[in-house]
């Protein structure tokens, strides 16, 4: 016990500080994303730390649970968002375990969105929740991507995928369609994205309409960690050890990816739900054709 406890405290502090780092980096990148969009639209835009300021501001705001909310689901869903993305962060960036678990966790994010929307009792929240189920079409390319990566590397463990790239070069040049499909997933997760039907302004704020105050702050924290994890995953799986083994280069890579995504988000209109789903299914078809082609030729 005497030896275990200090060790365990060390690991807990380590885990919390890594989570805090992911939140701060993710939050700054999302602030940067907002800044780029503003500049493209000819506005000065808020400062880059605005996302973090919002998170801290909402954390200290008074809340009251709406009378229509279904508790404890209403509160637990906001907590579950952070649980899901912290788990993805640790299993991905720290332990470099299976890619399949991370895909599973990404699907759990849909449960968070759906649960948030439906538990609030608000019609806007409900519509956001239902749209999050539609936008599950974005996950279908993800499974095709996982399949095609397995065909190439014979493993789904992130550590093995990074080692494969150490010997054979970045996967992005070998599987451009898969990288494109994953990139579309990144775009669909970005705020103000053409695929952002879940938080469409025509349904107020979608599933987070009734989650305000500290609950919104928790959702903002989970979104920042999610942004960090998804960018990290893209860099680790498709660009590989050249960038991912150096923390500074990883940060630069994340900033560049955020910059590209921001430009795309600023220049594209929001698609309607049916167009968004149709486009994502088309991309899936593209990756599946590539997968079949690779399976036949291997």
């Amino acid at each position: 016990m005497d030896i275990i406890v200090p060790n365990n405290i060390y690991h807990v502090v380590d885990a919390i500080s890594y989570g805090l780092y992911a939140f701060l980096v993710g939050g700054l990148l999302l602030g940067f994303h907002r800044k780029i969009i503003s500049r493209i639209q000819g506005r000065p835009g808020p400062p880059i730390i605005q996302y973090l300021i919002h998170t801290f501001k909402y954390y200290l705001k008074e809340i009251s649970i709406p009378i229509t909310a279904g508790n404890p689901l209403y509160i637990f869903m906001a907590l579950m968002g952070i649980i899901v993305w912290l788990t993805a962060l640790y299993l991905g960036a720290v332990f470099k375990t299976s890619l399949l678990i991370l895909v599973g966790l990404y699907v759990l994010q849909k449960i968070v969105e759906h649960g948030c929307g439906l538990s609030s009792g608000s019609p806007y929240g409900k519509l956001g929740g239902v749209r999050s189920v539609f936008s599950a079409a974005a996950e279908v390319p993800l499974f095709a991507v996982v399949g095609i990566i397995y065909i190439l590397t014979q493993s789904l463990i992130i550590k093995d995928i990074i080692s494969y790239q150490l010997l054979n070069g970045p996967i992005i040049f070998k599987l451009p369609f898969a990288a494109f499909a994953f990139f579309i997933l990144l775009i669909s997760k970005a705020p103000n994205s053409p695929f952002g039907i879940v938080k469409d302004k025509s349904i107020v704020s979608g599933y987070i309409t009734e989650h305000f105050g500290i609950l919104e702050s928790l959702i903002l924290i989970s979104d920042a960690i999610a942004w960090f994890v998804l960018l990290w995953l893209f860099i680790a799986v498709f660009i590989g050890p050249i960038v991912i083994l150096n923390p500074l280069l990883t940060l630069i890579g994340m900033a560049i990816l955020t910059f590209i995504i921001s430009i795309i988000c600023a220049l594209t209109p929001l698609l309607t739900p049916n167009h968004s789903v149709m486009l994502q299914i088309l991309i899936t078809a593209l990756v599946i054709v590539d997968l079949i082609h690779k399976t036949i030729t291997v």
Binding site: N8, I9, L60, S64, I65, I75, I82, I83, L86, I214
Partner: protein, 68 residues
Amino acid sequence: MTPEKKSGIISLIIGIIGFTYIIFYSNNVLLIYLGTALFTPFMVYGIGMMLNPKTKRREEGLIPFRGW
């Protein structure tokens, strides 16, 4: 006690019990990390609810009177 405060206290208790368990009884690093991922949000929510300012409503559950 308001339902908000009650939920904060419950989640703080869950968080403290969880962290106590993973610090004192766990000997697997992966389990400690996953436990941290599981219980940190409960602590964050619990602490946040303790910092939640006093309601400006005259009575709980009523919206403030904003004039006719």
